[in-house]
């Protein structure tokens, strides 16, 4: 039983800086064609919006599904209330990280280390065969820029609050 007396009335403004959110009338246009709604458990952005509106803080913090969004933004195309569900999904991720450091994805450490997520430096052979330059002009190739980039990241609240994760990196 969810006791709405206990619910956090203003959660919506804390999570998502878009007043359109509250116009949501749960029509389902965002979820009915969502690719991540095929995941198990499905991403149901409409339900996440509902949790935010109702102020169900604990339940929202426990939700893993925002992380399955594939950022195709089809929901945004069809939302009649301009809720921008995709933006909401990102906002929920951010909010979760701010409130629970275990939510911070390990890929952030990778980005901090390398300057980018994907290990693109591996296919040098194939690149050579195709006549492409063997090395990509990625950030890792420029140590001074990478250092600047790390300093920038450290200025963001979530990363500086959780500095320990990047120690020794």
């Amino acid at each position: 039983m969810v006791d709405l007396q206990e619910a956090k009335k203003d959660l919506w403004s804390e999570v998502y800086d878009n007043p359109n959110l509250r116009y949501c009338f749960n029509c389902g246009a965002c979820i009915s064609g969502c690719p991540a709604s095929n995941a198990d458990p499905p991403l149901l952005i409409r339900n996440l919006a509902r949790m935010v509106i109702l102020g169900m803080e604990d339940e929202l913090l426990d939700e893993d599904t925002p992380w399955t969004c594939v950022t195709c933004s089809r929901c945004e195309e069809m939302c009649p209330m301009d809720v921008k569900p995709f933006e909401l999904c990102l906002a929920i991720r951010k909010w979760q990280c701010a409130n629970d450091s275990t939510r911070i994805p390990p890929s952030i450490v990778e980005i901090y280390n390398r300057g980018y997520t994907q290990p693109v430096e591996r296919n040098t052979e194939q690149r050579k065969e195709l006549g492409l330059p063997e090395k990509l002009p990625v950030l890792g190739e420029y140590p001074d820029l990478l250092e600047k980039f790390r300093q920038m990241l450290m200025k963001t609240k979530i990363i500086s609050d959780n500095e320990f994760m990047f120690k020794g990196a």
Binding site: R22, G33, P80, M81
Partner: protein, 1028 residues
Amino acid sequence: MADQERVGTVLVVGAGIAGIKAALELAETGYKVILAESSPHIGGILAKLDHQFPTNHCGMCRMLPMVGREYASQHCMRKSLYHDNIEIMPFTEVKSIKGSAGEYQVELLKRARHVNPDICNGFGECVEACPVTAPDEFNHGLTDRKAIYQPVPHNVPQMLVVDVDACDKCGECLKVCPTDAIDLEARDEIELVEVDAIIMASGVSLYDPGTQDDAKPYTVSEDVVTSLAFERILSGSGTYDGEIHRPSDGRPAKRIAWIQCVGSRNRRHGRDYCSSICCMFALKEAVLAHEEGGPGMETTIFYMDMRTFGKDFYRYREMAEKEYGVKLVRCRAQEVLKDPDGTLTIRYYDNRAGEFKRDEFDMVVLSTGQAPFEDHKKISELLDTEVTDSSLLKNEDFSKVKLVKEGVYICGSLMGLTDISEAITSGIAASGEASKLLRRINAPRIMEKEVEEKDVDREQPRVAAILCRCKDEKIPEGLDLEPLGAKLKGLHGVDEVHILDSLCREEQREELEEILRKTKCNRLLFGACLPYVYKRKLKHIALDAGFNYSLVEVFNLLDIARNGLSDPDDKGWIGKIVEEIQVNKEKLRLARALHRNIVPINQSALVVGGGVAGMKAALSLAERGVFVHLIEKSRRLGGHAGTELQYTVDNLNTSGMVESLINEVQDSDGIEVHFNHEVARSDGALGCFVSTIRNVGGGETKEIEHGAVILATGGREGKTDEYSHGKSDRVLTQSEFEKKFSSGEIDAGGLENVVMIQCVGSRERGQREYCSRVCCAGALKNAFKIREKNPETRVFILNRDMMTYGYFEQYYTKARGEGIIFVNYELDSKPEVELGADKPVVRFTDHVLRLPMEIAADRVILATGIEPSESNASLARVFDVELNADGFFVEADSKWRPVESNRLGVFMAGLAHSPRTVNEAIMQAEAAAQKAYEYLSRGEIHTPRVVSVVHDSLCSRCRRCVEVCPYNARSFDEVKNQIMVDPEACQACGMCAVSCPNNAAEVLGWNEKQTMAVIDAKLRDESVGAVL
């Protein structure tokens, strides 16, 4: 200055059903109407629809006048409209409007049709010859048409038009046209008209999914069509003769989906409104798909809120679901997917099951509604008036039809997309407002001239045949009627034969009148063309010459000649015409002159109920010089709105409005209020009712004579003992709350959480089985009022469907934006209220998360809907009118005659009809008053000649005829022990004659002798006889 001699004239802009209805009302009240329509045809959207719920039939003709039907147009309205007082101007736009009420000068732009309808014979040879094709708008592009075409296939006469954008001026049509009716160089013309008032009925543009981005994920295949296109597919005059096929490959469609709110309820695209009609439209189409598509049909409607807010709408939904198996899914689809074989797939989230599903369909119908109001800005500039924040034209407070500019009224979908019943009601109401103005400025009315009829009752029947040879008109060389004339001269029973060049031309009128003056005959048989168009005109000419209406017949000579010419093997066209004349001659020979009676009308009205609708109707009539007896059973005026409502959701002051109405009624010399009285008995008919009213306490009675009745008995808030109502002062109904809150008895400061529960005791078997229409907007209204005083209050509205139709949608949107929480509940999982020591606790299941939730509420506010007045039952007996299963009065036709009862002269308005908002009740009251005025203003009624009668000596008093009469024209008088017929109510349909076992019921002009003679005449013909 307006010309003193000019009769009162009104310009009606837009010839959809609302405009047509407004025009007909004014024409019947004796004013002249100019009916301008921007498209080349009249009828608007309705011209495309074959079926309307609840009967699923076409009933357009039912809006035609019921009284004086011999002289008014009696006709299939889908073909066209004819009325002596209405000048129809198709393909005409308003260019400018100058002046003021009583003297508007309007510039009309008459666009060139390029085909002269007066001489076009409608054979369509030009259409065959035209090499250019273009998509046919009438069938929504499902079929093609030519550049020269007939806009509406079922119009009579054929009104061809050239689409100048498509036409390449090759001139092929000119070559084949036998009558030189085509002029490709014709230019638009300007005509200046002077009118007293203007009724705007130009409708609203519809949302076009083909041009809008937000519909693209749906419009993936030819088999995805709009609801209007689907209507054309269902239509017998449509694309597949009424069978349901997929447009892409013509295969039968057996699985059909509807997607609701396409284009509507979309704040992001600036369309924050509900199009009001689409839910019922989709339900109707789904039901029709089952009826037309036969077994194996599967239908699914994807919706958000199923808005069945109108009278009997919810029952229709239940019938669609239960009897036809129409599946309703509450989910807005994101897209339609097309498989390689053309199958369409819709994926949706099934809330009840909590899982995604995929359904396959052969066709998908997009329930598209109105486009945003773009034309309104233009109209407001034309009228030099304002638009509202919602881009609507600015109305007077509480009036839906009266603009802030005097002498200009609106009706129909210009107010926002409306259903038929609202369109018709608004059309009548707008014409009522116009007629009030016309009376105020003393505009003259068209008077019917009385012509003395020659008394021929004792004469031998003598028939004159008057034939038109159609010279220079529809037949190039004219019909050579001389051999026919010679043949007819020898025919027994035809005493004179006259052949004229062309009966339809004004120049021939004198010649015709001369013939009628000189003839020794007393019966006339006209052979002309298009009886639909010319029958009335020819009969009128004959009438003016003193002939009896029932001794004049008109037959379609041209059509017979045309068929005969193309079928030379048969007996030839002359033979066919002779046969037709034989038949008609027999009918005329045995016809009796039927006479009409003139019944004086008592020019006063009885209005039952002193609520807003009753008072408004009374004032509206009194303003036009009709004396009104206003019967009120309580000791005060004001009714439900006067005691229960303080304000509207639009923030209008209801209580103030009611107060000023009460003052107006009490100050009016034309209204006598009978407080504390009820109607005990009523006899008589339209124009001559005698009713007995008595003191509610018993005792003293009074007799009142009056010409018409308006039932405005009102209603009241429903009662309930659900959700612990009555057990705690924290659980109240909406109006209990509204009163206590506006008086300050309930302090907003103490309200932390408020829970509103909708549909209490409503839309449920054994309870009020209908939607009360007003409660959703009512809940929003009070939620706003609470939050106005205490923005911290959390309001929850537990509902089954938010019925915020039309522009109420904006309030629903605003409420969500403010943080008001809406929860849907289903009948099988209603919320629960538990009274605790302190605050009541409300438990419910959130429909999105499917989780049980609870909240301690400072107040639980119940929307209990509207109940009909308990006096309806006795009034139904007194006035011999019907009540529906819910206790509201039944209209003569729920779509086309929405304020008339099935008894002529008895009208209804307000909650007596069905639950509705104050504005809507006022509009209905104006409409009911206008309907009553239309009859009362005549001063006398001329009963029709062709009516049904009773031969009392043959009558066995079995009363079958009383039961079958669809117009309540027959009744049994216990005292006289006789069947009585009300000649004004009788429409001569013949049901009584068919059902009578003793031939005691007869429809005059259709007696058995005549009918047998006609059959004999037909059989005397050898070729027919041989077959039989």
